[in-house]
Symmetry: C2
DNA sequence: TATAGAATTGACGTAAACGTAAAAGGCGCA
DNA sequence: TGCGCCTTTTACGTTTACGTCAATTCTATA
């Protein structure tokens, strides 16, 4: 729907700009052109993943994202997108950004990532326990609250129609 | 157990001090001697209700408690205790201190407190809804996390014994 | 070329409920 | 009378994940 609006600026145009606005050298600072270039700027990223610009910059500030730059403009590759997805998943299940970073920092594309997976599993078990504890607390709260509400309703009823209910 | 330590200072002693250290006038500033005096100082209150001194002072600062004073020493009556119980209940079910205060401020010992009860009921309904939403979110998170954990375990298993599981 | 729309960095603000000194006064007890 | 414990006030610190300007620059489009 709304995406049609910037469809004219996606894909090719960005690349064109990268090349036409090139930093004298043909391709030295951009680590990879990624062949199937799916570079996105911050606004597109934000829309695509339902976060704010501030959030993306914040994540970068915390070392969770590392977009390329065209001059000062951030350009997010599909790797950044994958990382962002992980971040959002982590947040959803209640990890702190520190935890997420810690786990992501262990990622090594050339290895088996056994250590990373073990850490993730370890943290996940603890987080699962926390979540279950939280759920128990909430259930408690719901029960207590429901009880109080019944009592309050009782009191209100007694004040409204005191003649009949006082005796019983 | 530990309470034996200050048992020697409870009840009578406090009252004695109140009288002996009296502010010239016999009983003008202390609104009530409460006959069945159950005055407690901040330390006793804290122990009795499992909160810190800081917390009690903080609640007072926020207008949630209003202990009497013997000079500069706070003295909590049974009314303060009742109020504290309400505060703690409110916190347990997830109300903010502001909410709690708002509800308690409506209390009028001479009236029917219909308004107070209605407000409480209203806030409670909303809070109940919030709690249920939270529980849904947590359930979601638990499910997602459990799923991820299975996936991670899978990956670890494949890395540990790749010969058999790759084929299937 | 004028103007609106993105994007940048920097920096302070927010929310909630206290924690944590710091410095000082009072009290009972041995 | 000295020690130790309790209490008081004041006030800054903590935590997390951003929100909200502010001032500026770049770019694309009409």
């Amino acid at each position: 729907m709304v995406q049609d609006r910037d469809a004219t600026r996606r894909g090719k145009p960005v690349t064109m700009k990268l090349i036409s606005a090139g930093e004298t050298a043909a391709n030295t600072n951009n680590v990879s052109v990624e062949a199937g270039e799916d570079l996105a700027r911050i606004g597109e990223m934000a829309k695509k993943y339902g976060v704010t610009l501030r959030t993306l910059r914040f994540y970068e500030d915390k070392g969770l994202l590392n977009p390329q730059r065209d001059g000062s403009t951030r350009l997010y590759t599909r790797r950044d997108k994958a990382r962002l997805k992980l971040i959002l998943l982590g947040r959803k299940v209640g990890f702190s950004l520190r935890d997420v970073k810690q786990m992501m920092d262990l990622y090594d594309p050339t290895g088996s990532n056994t250590k990373q997976l073990r850490l993730a599993l370890d943290k996940s078990e603890k987080q699962l326990a926390r979540l279950q504890k939280q759920r128990a607390l909430i259930d408690d709260a719901i029960n207590e609250l429901s009880g109080s509400m019944s009592a309050v309703r009782q009191m209100l009823a007694e004040r409204t129609a005191p003649q009949a209910s006082v005796a019983s």
